[in-house]
Subunit: 350 residues, 2 copies
DNA sequence: TTGAAAGCGTTACCAA
DNA sequence: TTGGTAACGCTTTCAA
């Protein structure tokens, strides 16, 4: 190793508290107090120390700080898919709530990849972030239990907890599916189709259940069929669109509930460009998510808006409550209702 | 303070290296070596230590590690706007490259807000991340100089460096604008319009310059007008669309270059739904960015695809090169070419 | 191959 | 109000 004094370092070495103390002519502890308990200092020394901090461009070493304090002030958010505006909204809400409580929020994108999700959970575990927000991929993952076992506070977003030892914030998907179906029924639809991959994605399955409940309530006046898809992307919608076009009129659904907006977008686009069928006259369609990627479709898409921002806010608040251990935090789950947004794609009256 | 032994902690206290050492019956340094220099241990003790680590669920304290090592292994990416797929792609590329080099990447979303950008830069500065990737908002910001002044390695993405003491990875916007205009001219357009807010956004201004260059090369055979917008979102496109519709035929552009895809999407949507004009016959249009939000438009949009993934990769590689100081790193700028993607919105022949 | 001990830059305590 | 000093959990010498 080169001795530290035998050459000039490339960047300016970062000043430490002891440097500030030396220049200001006070002790180390006093500088620390200037930062953490300014009220304990005489105005004169406080002012002097602050000036020196400015001059030297001193910035606290966060690693040392959280080591000494035994607690960090940063929250990590491991997020399933940032390209989905629903989840991005969660991060916005979480960041707001975190900032209000004096915490910083950093993001790690799993990008629909289980291995990366685990890597990121482990990363935050190592970094000893104050806590972790997790919007998980469906399925089992090992990182969660590892994190929990280390006692790291963790709040689950948009997924039901597998065990009851942490908080969770969920959207009421079943109810959303119910609202979607009821809406189409009220618009006069009698032959509904639900599309989505209900096997792989629990939220989609719940939406389907809700739709089925609404249909059941009609005592047979309305029928519901399931059109399974591979995923819920635009491309899957294109395939569904072709299926719908090819059906004989009698077998064609007059109301479609898409498990997600992108799916709906694919359907609309395909049906409009490859047939004479029109929305909402021939087919009414409603999506799910209020995904911004679907906003600029030619036919404004009815949908169920998920309260992403609010979910993020609440999750962060729960997490911070657990971190700060206020009032002997009890784990709980919060379920938020989605909101029906009626646009042209399903509006037949009014 | 409660003594540590007078009550059971709520979560499991996280085991430390000394705990591992005690259980394994070795010294602390040996455990450290087991983690960092496994080759220095006898197979037997190594195995024993690893087993204890497993049993105890020990995870290194990253804060302590980077404090002791004096260097972190995490890179921070302060990103202007995660809802734009161009920037999200950058983060994907950056994460890939970082992972390949053994670094972790964490994200902080500025969400088009200068104050948050500065907050995030300061956060990473405090945390002493190994380095910072920054896709900045246009305009001056204070966080950059603060970070640089502390000697933190930083690479700028999609913005020209204000000073020359750091690397940057840029897209060649001027060339992209040129390609867009040339393409429309080749499709037979003679009256071009460029829309965008060239005053506020340097990249947009450069695209306009490129378009102007292509037009100038025609020696007057083609005309170019500028339609200024407020921003470059769908809503701005709607306004432009209305303007275009209202024009008398002689004054209507037959080729439109939108400064961004979302802008183009707004124009297409408005013109299609509120007039009889058709793309590309009456008006050819081309966007910029290859934004996924515009993929599900009814008319597939021609565009200039930005190499976001590649930009992110390169930026991370430059940053890591600077961090590890390999071969006396020299700062440099890399400029990547956008790629013309011709889709239906502008294809008049072939 | 293993152990002991000196940092790393803070915080928080107790004395002064 | 200030100064001194022992942690915090790890890495990294240097000895054994």
């Amino acid at each position: 190793m080169a001795r530290s004094d035998d050459r000039v370092p490339e960047g300016q070495a970062m000043p430490r508290m002891s440097d500030v103390a030396a220049v200001a002519g006070v002790s180390l502890g006093t500088v620390s107090n200037a930062l953490n308990h300014p009220d304990r200092l005489s105005p004169a020394t406080l002012k002097r120390i602050r000036r020196v901090i400015q001059e030297l461009g001193f910035v606290r070493n966060g690693a040392a700080q959280s080591l000494a304090r035994g607690i960090s002030t940063t929250i990590g958010f491991v997020i399933i898919d940032l390209s989905n505006s629903f989840f991005l909204d969660m991060s916005r809400g979480a960041e707001q709530a975190a900032a209000e409580a004096g915490f910083a929020l950093i993001l790690a994108n799993s990008d629909m990849d289980m291995a990366r999700q685990d890597t990121h959970l482990d990363l935050f575990d190592q970094q000893r972030t104050a806590g972790v927000l997790l919007a998980p991929l469906p399925g089992l993952f090992s990182g969660l239990e590892r994190a929990r076992q280390h006692g790291q506070p963790l709040v689950l977003l948009n997924a039901a907890p597998q065990t009851s030892d942490h908080c969770a914030v969920l959207a009421h998907n079943e109810h959303g599916g119910y609202l979607a179906a009821r809406h189409l029924i009220e618009q006069g639809c009698r032959q509904l189709a639900f599309c989505g991959n209900i096997d792989a994605l629990p939220p989609i399955r719940q939406r389907y259940s809700g739709a089925a409940r609404a249909v059941a309530e009609t005592n047979g006046a309305v029928r519901l069929e399931l059109i399974p898809t591979c995923e819920v992307q635009v491309g899957d919608g294109v395939k569904v669109g072709r299926q719908v076009i090819e059906r004989e009129t009698a077998w064609r659904p007059d109301g479609v509930i898409a498990g997600a907006d992108l799916l709906a977008a694919g359907i609309v686009q395909t049906v409009l460009s490859q047939s004479d069928l029109r929305f909402p006259q021939d087919v009414a369609i409603i999506g799910y998510d209020d995904n911004r990627s679907a906003w600029n479709a030619l036919i404004p898409l009815s949908t169920l808006a998920q309260p992403g921002l609010e979910m993020g806010r609440l999750a962060a608040q729960l997490l911070i409550e657990e971190i700060t251990g206020r009032q002997g935090h009890r784990h709980r789950q919060i379920v938020l209702e989605p909101q029906l947004v009626v646009r042209d794609s399903s509006r037949r009256r009014g």
